[in-house]
Assembly symmetry: C2
Homo-oligomer: 86 residues x 2
């Protein structure tokens, strides 16, 4: 897993998921701080077709396992702090 390579590979993701993994497009999840295993599982689901989305299915198709591991390392390396309303 190489977070730096993941960050470079994530340039394509930034348009919707934002440069730091906070969603920049509507109906789009934040990826910042998500667990690496969860991100890997979802990218492989989109790549393999067990999870479908008009954009993500296309984005995931060309990804190698290394790409996926690096993307997961990158997004999970982003620290998130949550503040619930009182």
């Amino acid at each position: 897993q190489d977070a730096a390579a993941g960050k470079a590979r994530a340039a394509a993701c930034a348009m919707c998921h934002g440069p730091a993994g906070i969603a920049a497009a509507p109906d789009t999840p934040n990826l910042a701080g998500q667990p690496a295993s969860y991100i890997e599982e979802q990218l492989k689901a989109y790549r393999g077709g067990s999870r479908k989305h008009e954009v993500m299915s296309l984005m995931a198709r060309p990804l190698s396992d290394a790409d996926i591991a690096n993307l997961a390392a990158w997004f999970s390396s982003i620290k998130v702090e949550a503040t619930a309303p009182k």
Copy 2:
């Protein structure tokens, strides 16, 4: 949408997704600060079966549309700040 009702309803979610939406269990996504529309879409997908997960399919089945709207309002009301590594 009633975030307070959503917070109460989310007691059942806290075991895995954490009391403030930061995942407390492995391979589990953070829900804090996710867009309400995304959360609604995923809960309806689990409830309807277009998205499958051994736990979430069961958790989502009994949810009403109001439950889903309130849960989405609650989790999306949690502020998140992301700090990407340099």
